[in-house]
């Protein structure tokens, strides 16, 4: 059967002091996954916490000694990520994936602006690789609360034709939010399409700017997930699927991030009806793992639950 496999850890490294990276030998996934899709990992057999943890794919290595491996990045925010952080080379992990619907790549040569926040930027690196391979131009805005939470800014310099870095506290790049730079970047880079992933309020703000500027925007949302394959109805977001021909607004429906998404048309998501608070302790149940409340101070690990661990 498809989509259930085991993978062997090839390497475990760190990006800065905040992020862990696991490179996993998973040919079944590596050959099929597209940017924006995710995998769901069973973090051990401990019954004290039971659900899988979803991770968007950060990188796929298709050639060379690391061919058919996938890479995920995460920070420590609960028992699942702690389990993963203790894995070493040759450990075996139980994987489900690739899951969900990824980003749609442009058909014709395009200027693509990638906007990432915190660890939510993870799938944009895989996307950038694919876009560049297809001959598209890639520009990037990378943001985070502070410099230590910027995901791989060095690589952004390599990938992007034009890039901007923002931090809430000004500890790296410009002080401010990614949206402060967005409008100007769309104009300057003559962006044909915007791709974004990050915390929910950031996605709402990015989508808002893009809609105002009539720039197509694809958002990869980070909602809490129970199953990852479409049955539990946990990870829904409100979507209004375009206007009808008579001009009436179509009815809002709750769509599943795991199977209808996680990539949605940012102009169709009903951001004001969506939840703006996701609890800190559960945040490792979303694919980017970012607490959906950028700008709110949470403790450094964001870990309160589940108790009993």
């Amino acid at each position: 059967m498809m989509r259930m496999s085991s993978g062997e850890i090839l390497s475990h490294k760190k990006y800065g002091d905040a992020f862990h990276s696991l490179t996993i030998v998973a040919p079944d996934i590596g050959e099929r996954v597209v940017p924006g899709q995710f995998i769901n990992i069973r973090c051990g057999r401990d019954r004290s916490f039971i659900l899988r943890r979803p991770f968007s794919v950060y990188r796929v290595h298709k050639r060379g000694g690391w061919a058919s491996t996938i890479e995920i990045v995460f920070d420590l925010r609960g028992p699942g990520t702690r389990y993963l952080s203790e894995l070493r080379s040759h450990s075996i992990v139980d994987l489900m994936g690739p899951l969900g619907r990824g980003f749609t790549l442009p058909k014709n040569r395009a200027h693509c602006l990638l906007v990432g926040g915190g660890i939510g930027a993870a799938p944009l690196f895989f996307l950038a690789d694919e876009l560049r391979n297809d001959g598209h131009r890639v520009d990037v805005i990378l943001g985070a609360r502070s410099s230590r939470l910027l995901l791989n800014p060095i690589d952004v310099r390599r990938l992007a034709s034009v890039y901007r870095i923002t931090t809430d506290d000004g500890s790296a790049g410009e002080k401010g939010r990614v949206t402060d730079a967005l409008s100007e970047m769309i104009d300057r880079c003559e962006s044909d399409v915007v791709y974004t992933c990050g915390p929910h309020p950031m996605l709402a703000a990015v989508a808002g700017v893009c809609v105002d500027k009539k720039a197509p925007v694809q958002v990869a949302v980070e909602e809490l997930m129970g199953c990852g394959f479409g049955v539990c109805m946990t990870c829904v977001i409100p979507v209004r699927p375009g206007k009808s021909r008579r001009g009436n607004a179509a009815e809002i429906s709750y769509q599943r991030s795991c199977t209808d998404g996680p990539v949605f048309n940012g102009a169709s998501v009903v951001w004001d009806a969506a939840t703006d608070i996701v609890s800190s302790g559960q945040s490792e149940l979303s694919p980017g793992g970012t607490p959906a409340r950028q700008g709110v101070v949470v403790d450094s690990t964001g870990e309160h639950a589940p108790p009993g661990n």
């Binding site: 059967m1 659900l51 899988r52 394959f229 049955v231 539990c232 608070i277 149940l285 309160h304």
Partner: protein, 311 residues
């Protein structure tokens, strides 16, 4: 090796080749999981509850993880019985799997109307599970499942609409006496019982001091509730030994399933474990066979209700 032990079971005349079903709300209509697991390897699928009109479900967050389990308040998001009959059932009929339809509503009349639609359009449905853990609009939103009268009223209404198919009301553990509710719904025409639905619970984020769920409280599922479910099965089986029970609540392994069988369940449904491992059910069925083989047990009938007591 001798012949493979016989794991077939019977629920109020419904023959199942294996005793482990997918619990409602954890397997969609079966289609979502079909990419991950061979449906013909299951005892059957109890599909996601369906209502008369589509239900949008509750606000998010709808779920949080808790010790050895999870809390949810989904709100039975579903596309309605007409959608099930037109879009899901034709596909399900082509699969080699027993289909149990779960129905829900906010008034007795809504349950009755869903049942009527299934009577006329529900070819391929082998039995009905009645999800009475729904707020009753005509009784200040109290759950039907929480008092004998309303629970029995739903079952009696559905019974009239569907004279032939086996009916399994799914009882709530959040009551003083589950055996009393069981007695009421059996009196009203139920053929068997599903035990149990989720256990009321609550979890609070101390950072925000808000409930983890937008709905405030929710239903606890997973291994955390298994002892509660086993107790409920035991209690009801003791009171009504002839009544077939689908035992459910936190079953994730063959040993868990065996607990249910020994306590008196004739079949088991697996719920939350499907999220973690969509192949839990075939693995549990294989585990049951291994248990029986190792002990020379030929048939499940040698296990069901075989609880021994301390001296």
């Amino acid at each position: 090796m001798g012949a493979s032990p016989d794991v077939s079971t019977t629920l109020a005349g419904l023959e199942l080749s294996a005793p482990v079903l997918a619990a409602s709300g954890t397997f969609g209509s079966g289609r979502e999981a079909a990419e991950l697991v061979d449906l013909s390897a299951l005892g059957g699928v109890i599909v996601k509850s369906m209502t008369l009109a589509p239900w949008k479900g509750k606000a998010t967050p709808r779920m949080c993880e808790t010790p050895s389990g999870m809390l949810n308040a989904i709100g039975i998001q579903n596309k309605g019985v007409d959608h099930f009959i037109a879009e899901e059932l034709p596909w399900l009929r082509k699969q080699d799997v027993t289909v149990i339809a779960s129905i829900a509503g906010n008034t007795v009349e809504e349950f009755v109307q869903v049942a009527r639609k299934l009577r006329t359009g529900g070819r391929g449905v082998a039995a009905i599970e009645i999800n009475i853990s729904c707020p009753n609009l005509e009784d200040r939103d109290n759950m039907f499942a929480h008092a004998p009268g309303p629970a029995a009223a739903v079952v009696a209404g559905v019974r009239k609409s569907i004279p032939k198919l086996p009916l399994f009301p799914k009882l709530s553990p959040n009551v003083t006496s589950i055996a009393e509710i069981a007695g009421a719904v059996l009196e009203a025409g139920a053929d068997g019982l599903s035990l149990i639905n989720t256990v009321f619970g609550m979890s609070i984020d101390v950072e925000t001091r808000r409930p983890q769920l937008a709905g405030g409280v929710g239903g606890l599922s997973g291994p955390a509730i298994r002892p509660i479910a086993v107790r409920a099965v035991h209690e009801v089986h003791t009171a009504f030994p002839e009544v077939p029970i689908i035992g459910q609540g936190g079953v994730a392994s063959a040993d868990d399933a065996l607990e249910m069988l020994v306590a008196g369940a004739s079949a088991i449904a697996v719920g939350t474990a499907n999220f973690v491992n969509p192949r839990s059910i075939p693995e549990i069925i294989e585990g049951l066979r291994a248990y029986m083989r190792a002990r020379g047990i030929d048939s499940l009938q040698g296990i069901i209700g075989s609880l021994k007591h301390h001296d």
